[in-house]
């Protein structure tokens, strides 16, 4: 029953086309079309009930889509063998509580096909990575939620997967634990792995992720590149003399909105590239600029703007 893994057909870690899941009459995911590039840290954001968990479960083969297609690392998501290259930390990681931390890791590593020699080397190394070395021989029943998250993270990474799904990895962790998770995610990026991060902690996502998408009612409603691209709304606060309404039409080619109030001009644009042009236009229009401060919209502000402030997180 072993399915052969042919070479991947494209450079995407995840590629879904109109993925849909319906439970009875309730539509959990309306039509998810998502592309995640290999090697990026990808944030998956949306309010409660937006279909995030169902989407992840579909990509991992836990939930069968009603319709649509999904490719993981260039292979159909239903291919069991591809899971050798996938790691998953469930939101609320649990396992038989009579196992010790080392036994749990060894078990999951064996399920991923690691050899006994690899086990001897990696089990202590990954327990150390998540800071549980003093507890390696303790049974899980004595573990706190944070410790369970840590051991869950270790089992998701021990087989050095190419794609890692982390569902709320920092929930239940103290600030040190969160810092550790951040470092681990960065290390995964260095290793070349793709990380798919589902988190409610937008500040965490903002620090960690390269790209984020926002989903609402099971559909992508927006995305932001947090690293290279200047996309995303930028607010510019200008303090100047000689601001006149006549200058506004000239700014319209670069700005989404612009408003003058006394000696202050508030404008917004979609690209950092436009900022020199805007400033040049102001100076050429004989505006005496004292202050010109661009501010990128925080992820939280973007989130609230896209989702609407009434949505609960």
């Amino acid at each position: 029953m072993t399915e052969d893994l042919l070479p991947p057909t494209n450079d995407l870690a995840i590629d879904t086309i109109r993925l849909r899941k319906q439970f009875g009459s309730k539509v959990a995911v309306r039509g998810l079309s998502l592309q995640v590039r290999r090697g990026e840290i990808f944030g998956f954001l949306g309010p409660n009930g937006a279909g995030k968990s169902t989407s992840i479960k579909m990509l991992l083969g836990l939930v069968w889509p009603t319709s649509g297609q999904a490719q993981i690392l260039g292979h159909p998501f239903s291919n069991v063998e591809i899971r050798r290259k996938i790691g998953f930390l469930p939101e609320d990681f649990r396992f038989y509580d009579w196992l010790t931390a080392s036994e749990l890791l060894a078990l999951h590593a064996r399920l991923c096909g690691l050899t006994p020699a690899q086990l001897r080397e990696r089990v202590p190394a990954y327990i150390d990575l998540v800071g549980l070395t003093p507890h390696r021989d303790r049974r899980l029943r004595g573990f706190s939620k944070g410790m369970m998250q840590r051991i869950g993270l270790a089992q998701a990474l021990i087989h050095e997967p190419e794609l890692v799904f982390l569902d709320e990895p920092t929930s239940g962790l103290d600030p040190m634990g969160r810092h550790l998770v951040r470092d681990i995610i960065r290390n995964e990026r260095k290793r070349g792995a793709t990380v798919f991060l589902n988190s409610h902690l937008l500040s965490e996502v903002e620090i960690t992720c390269d790209t984020v998408v926002f989903i609402k009612q099971g559909q992508v409603v927006g995305s932001r590149d947090l690293r290279s691209s200047p996309d995303g709304e930028i607010h510019v606060h200008v303090r100047a003399h000689n601001l006149r309404p006549e200058i506004l039409p000239g700014l319209a080619q670069w700005t989404c909105s612009a408003q003058i109030q006394d000696d202050r001009l508030q404008l917004s644009t979609n690209s950092m590239e436009c900022l020199p042009e805007i400033l040049r236009h102001l100076v050429c229009s004989d505006v005496h600029v004292f202050e010109f401060t661009p501010q990128r919209l925080s992820l939280e502000e973007s989130f609230l703007k896209i989702m609407g402030e009434d949505q609960g997180l």
Binding site: G61, L62, W64, R83, F88, W98, L111, G113
Partner: protein, 277 residues
């Protein structure tokens, strides 16, 4: 080692740690102590010493059948109670997510769990059956005719019940699953007695009702076959105990039970593959 055997191994260890298993072992120990004491009192009762040896032997053999009957019931209950939340419980608690997302087919996951429980039940049946056997042999001086065949049938009965708890575990919650499987076993139990009574009173309608219940749930029929193969031919005709099987289920019924088990296991595998976790 393939994922199937890894899952079987971990499930065996998990099942062997269930409190309910240890409770069932304690219950078995208490039952064996009571049974041994009863057997001892009977053997050394002054009145019983005067009973002709043939009759005495038959009475002790009948007591042995009661012992096997009680251990059979304990084994079936233990099987249902230990395995009833194996699938539904792990699905509800999301414990299954970390394993089901590994490179393992759903059929390997289910079959591995089934094998783990099957091994644990084999150990339980061997232990408690051995206990009853030892009491009969060393205290009562009697032993069943086909002990190995009898033990195998009792084990088959437990496997059938196990398979049904797995099948319904892929569909329903733990509680519903337990109610359905124990309900079916109860139906088979009543049906079995109706068939026995029908045989004595020569009522075809009762017999047919009994057969119908065995078709729906063959667990009790398997027990009656086990009891039949363990009884001596004299006991079968003397009819000294309620277990003197007048209408032993046929070998065809046993074949039916085995096919029933395989079909239920296939249905469980199919259903588990289709369902969302």
């Amino acid at each position: 080692m393939t994922p199937l055997w890894i899952i079987a191994g971990i499930t065996f260890r998990e099942a062997a740690r269930r409190k309910i298993l240890w409770t069932a072992l304690l219950a078995a120990a208490a039952f064996l102590a009571l049974f041994a004491t009863g057997m001892h009192f009977q053997v050394y009762s002054p009145h019983f010493q005067r009973v002709p040896p043939l009759i005495r032997n038959q009475i002790l053999s009948a007591m042995l059948q009661v012992g096997f009957y009680a251990m059979d019931l304990l084994a079936v209950l233990m099987t249902v109670l230990t395995s009833v939340d194996s699938l539904s419980g792990e699905i509800a608690s999301s414990t299954i997510h970390a394993v089901a997302t590994k490179p393992i087919h759903r059929w390997q996951l289910l079959l591995g769990k089934w094998l783990g429980f099957a091994a644990m039940i084999a150990a339980y049946v061997a232990l408690v059956f051995g206990g009853v056997y030892a009491v009969g042999r060393f205290i009562g001086g009697v032993q069943p005719r086909g002990a190995l065949a009898g033990a195998s049938f009792i084990y088959l009965e437990c496997l059938l019940v196990l398979t049904l708890t797995f099948l319904f575990g892929t569909m329903f919650s733990t509680l519903t699953n337990g109610v359905i499987v124990l309900g079916l076993h109860g139906l088979a139990f009543i049906g079995g007695w109706l068939e026995q009574i029908g045989t004595v009173t020569q009522s075809d309608r009762l017999i047919n009702l009994g057969i119908l219940s065995s078709v729906i749930m063959p667990s009790e029929a398997i027990w009656r076959r086990a009891s039949y193969v363990m009884q001596s031919s004299i006991a079968r005709t003397l009819d000294l105990s309620p277990f003197a099987t007048r209408s032993a289920p046929s070998a065809t019924m046993m074949l039916y039970a085995a096919i029933y088990l395989l079909l239920a296991l296939s249905a469980a595998l199919y259903r588990f593959r289709q369902r969302d976790l």
